[in-house]
Amino acid sequence: MGAIITLGILGILLLYLGLYKAKNALLPVTVVGLLVALGFLVLQWDLDAKPLYHGMVLFDRYAIAFSALCILVTVLILLLSKEYFRSISEHVAEYYCLLVLSLMGALLVTAYHNFAMLFVGIEIMSVALYILVGIRKNDAASNEAALKYFLMGAFSTGFLLFGITLMYGAAGTFDLSGLRDYVLATDQVSPLFYGGILLMLCGLCFKIGAAPFHFWTPDVYDGAPILITAFMSTVVKVAAFVGFFRLFGTVLVPLNDFWTPVLLTITIITLFLGNITALVQTSFKRMMAYSSISHAGYMLFAIVSIGAASASSILMYASAYCLASVIAFATLIVVKRRTGSDQFESFNGLAKQEPLLAIILTIAMLSLAGIPLTAGFIGKFMMFNNVMGSYNVMLLVIAAINAAVAVYYYLHVVINMYFKDSSTANQQGLQLAGTYKVVLGIAVLLTLAFGIYPDFIIGLL
């Protein structure tokens, strides 16, 4: 709980720093604050976890591991922000404050033990993002994205609340243990409860961007500032997934005959839709948006076939995906600064000017594609393994076909970097800030380390 309190205080502190024009202190204070929060989490690690505050939140190992992942990714993203936010607007303190608050919401979602907390967490996480997405006030695309995200988010919250209400109507409790007792104890689960499950499913699928509830994803990812996109596609997605997993993997497992077919259908649609539309994109940012849909599909494997290794696989997959995404978006920022565009063409000739950056992005792409010796491969392997564990050979074959399709578009950017010459006149080398080097270095080393010896992350949970 220390972590959440720290983040809350940190958010307010950052606003005051903004007020007193202490701009240079913003980044260090945020990073230190996040590390303190991380410290609180780590200290709680081996404790015998019990629900806190009348069963509102539960910081068990899942919650701590995923929260730590969220905080680490946020730190990486924030380290990239130093010059980026300044180039957008004068008032940088808001960014930091909103990001930190959004992260606090994400932590609540990973640790909720009561539907009230789930709702509060999702709202804190999302409301901060609605603002962040539209923070470039004069940019029409950014405004459109913000409005779209807000409307869609409001819809999905509506579904979620309706679902919660129905489940409450059937079981008479918001508490996860209470709900589990209800599901286990009653022979005849009320039809209201089934309706609630479906509505919750819709609401959560909105948040993770699974098809057919994905329509907001490409436009919002595209319209938002790149770093905000990076935050949304990593931290928010991971948190929503853990929320999803917590409900379906613990409470609703006995009823999986009911919801598995639905979720299976969603998974298959998500995979195909994400991959095939990613294939025809001309913009790198939009390609990442669609590919993030398909990754949601892969991550759903762990929930479709709940098993002993499900949580570990989500952690592995999510870490791999977050690291690769951070690299991809960081590179995109650099490239966009050079050419002013986020099309694939703007990556042309990058390998000649910045060989190291090109290699790092290549490793990230290989990780997203699931090639061995990168974290992405281990993640995919574990996901496929889960599916096979519940003897879903058909889904496995579909996933394999999709993985082969995905290679094609991930290689697209590699081809642009290595085999095409830059068309822009601006040929001088890019000036990479020190923080960029640190972030890229950490991300790529972790990607390789998890790929070569994944045991220390898999063995956590």
């Binding site: 061995p372 281990i378 392997f381 496929f384 096979m388 496995l396 290679v407 085999f419």
Partner: protein, 481 residues
């Protein structure tokens, strides 16, 4: 010094070192030195190897505890020849690239690929095997695409997606197998002992087969191959044809035959028919080629068709022949591609109709090329003869007609290879403008070494056959039920 892990690690380390070397001259010398070091490291295994069916020099570590996946390497009579092939060919391949100015990154990719290939040949568990299989693919993609020529981007994407699709099918099959045992495991020993239903074997067979067949390549999964060979740099072509396609054949031997014996018995004839079609078809097409590299690409399809046929003949001689012929083919293609490269650099063309009469100004090349050619055709006292004889004997044991059609490789091979020789070496001198300098230095050295082994393995094939005999017999005993 007989530590397999160090052997595996050596190319990785040299790849890391080579990454940082910008200057071309020192890069190639360091690359040569490290590859020779790898070769030297493999000598103790040859000396310490006891030619029985056992697995030797085993090492294993737990890799992913939760899934009980191991990193398990070891050596038996089938792995050892391929280990020697890989580590033996690498110095030759690096040496034959001495005429070009490649930076360290080029050689780093080769070294990294070598590590992947070694892991494929040494892996005793399917997870490591798969990792090696994929790790070998990435560098060759970059080698072919970065240093290739012509429409290389489109062609290499095709090559990559094709082979990746095959690999991912194999991954699906592996994960399926992983869940079949009482104890979840991907160890070779455990997978071989699985009691798979006939139905399960069928589709596991096809998933594996597609992965291997694309890599080998067996007709009709070969369509990526001629283009990729033609547009890759010569070094890339050597790596692809000399070593990489052996991964596929090795996969057949090591994984496909023992894991799905029933399916092999029931579908083996289909594969054999495909192989035979590939042999005849590729030989005929090879005859019509103008581009020397393309000719060799098709001849390669024909030759590996025969090798795969020998594997599926399920006869001891066929399998022995396959092991031996993998080495022979590797040696001879590397040699012939170097010859093509030498001529291309002298004349600026690979077009056979623009070549001719090179034997007069280049007598050394003419002689060494003839030796290689005889090996490739399979003339007695050369390595190719022994290999093809064993393969055909194996096929004969399976069915006479397979042997008859398989034997066409020899006849058609002689036809197109002699045509090749005639077009290049004999007749009037086509290119008058440039002075033709005979091979010298590294070119001569590489061709001499290959020429020596062509004859040496033809005269005493037992040097290799002795190593693999017991393992092959043991493997076949495991299949027959």
């Amino acid at each position: 010094m007989d530590n397999l892990f160090i052997l595996l690690l050596a190319p990785v380390v040299s790849a890391l070192v080579l990454c940082f070397i910008k200057e071309a001259k020192s890069a190639r010398w360091i690359a040569l030195f490290t590859s020779l070091l790898s070769l030297a490291l493999s000598v103790p295994f040859l000396l310490g190897f006891v030619p029985d069916a056992s697995i030797q020099f085993e090492q294993s570590w737990m890799w992913i505890d939760l899934l009980r996946l191991q990193f398990h390497i070891g050596l038996d009579g089938i792995s050892l020849p391929l280990l020697l092939l890989t580590n033996g060919l690498m110095p030759l391949i690096i040496l034959s690239s001495f005429g070009k100015d490649h930076k360290g990154s080029f050689y780093a990719l080769i070294s990294f690929m070598q590590a992947g290939l070694l892991l494929v040949f040494l892996a005793r568990d399917a997870f490591s095997f798969y990792v090696g299989w994929e790790v070998a693919l990435i560098p060759i993609y970059f080698i072919c695409a970065l240093w290739g020529e012509g429409d290389r981007i489109r062609i290499n994407i095709k090559f990559f997606v094709y082979t990746f699709f095959g690999s991912i099918l194999m991954l699906v099959a592996l994960i399926y197998l992983y869940h079949q045992g009482i104890i979840r495991s991907l160890e070779w020993d455990a997978l071989v002992k699985l009691h798979l239903s006939e139905n399960a074997q069928r589709w596991v067979f096809w998933a594996f087969f597609l992965a291997f067949a694309i890599k080998i390549p067996i007709f009709p999964f070969h369509t990526w191959q001629p283009d990729t060979y033609t547009h890759a740099p010569t070094t890339g072509t050597m790596l692809l044809s000399g070593v990489m396609l052996k991964m596929g054949i090795y996969g057949l031997l090591r994984w496909l035959l023992p894991i799905t014996p029933f399916a092999v018995l029931s579908y083996g004839h289909i594969v054999l028919i495909l192989c035979v079609i590939g042999i005849v078809y590729a030989s005929i097409i090879a005859f019509k080629q103008k581009d020397a590299k393309r000719l060799m690409a098709y001849s390669s399809i024909a030759h590996v068709g025969l090798i795969a046929g020998g594997v599926f003949s399920l006869q001891p001689t066929g399998l022995q022949g396959a092991v031996l012929q993998m080495l022979n083919h590797g040696l001879s293609v590397v040699g012939i591609f170097l010859v093509i490269d030498v001529l291309q650099r002298r004349t600026g063309s690979r077009n056979l109709s623009e070549w001719g009469g090179f034997a007069k100004p280049m007598p050394k090349l003419a002689i060494l090329f003839l030796i290689l050619l005889m090996g490739a055709i399979g003339l007695p006292l050369t390595n190719g003869f022994v290999g093809e004889f064993l393969l055909l004997k194996g096929l004969f044991g399976y069915g006479v007609w397979y042997a008859v059609f398989g034997g066409l490789t020899l006849i058609l091979g002689a036809v197109y290879m002699l045509r090749f020789y005639q077009k290049a070496m004999l007749g009037p001198i086509a290119v008058e403008a440039k002075p033709m300098v005979d091979i010298q230095g590294y070119e001569l050295l590489v061709l001499l070494i290959i020429g020596f082994f062509t004859i040496f393995l033809g005269v005493c094939p037992n040097a290799i056959l002795r190593l693999s005999e017991a393992s092959v017999t043991n493997l076949l005993n495991q299949i027959k039920f």
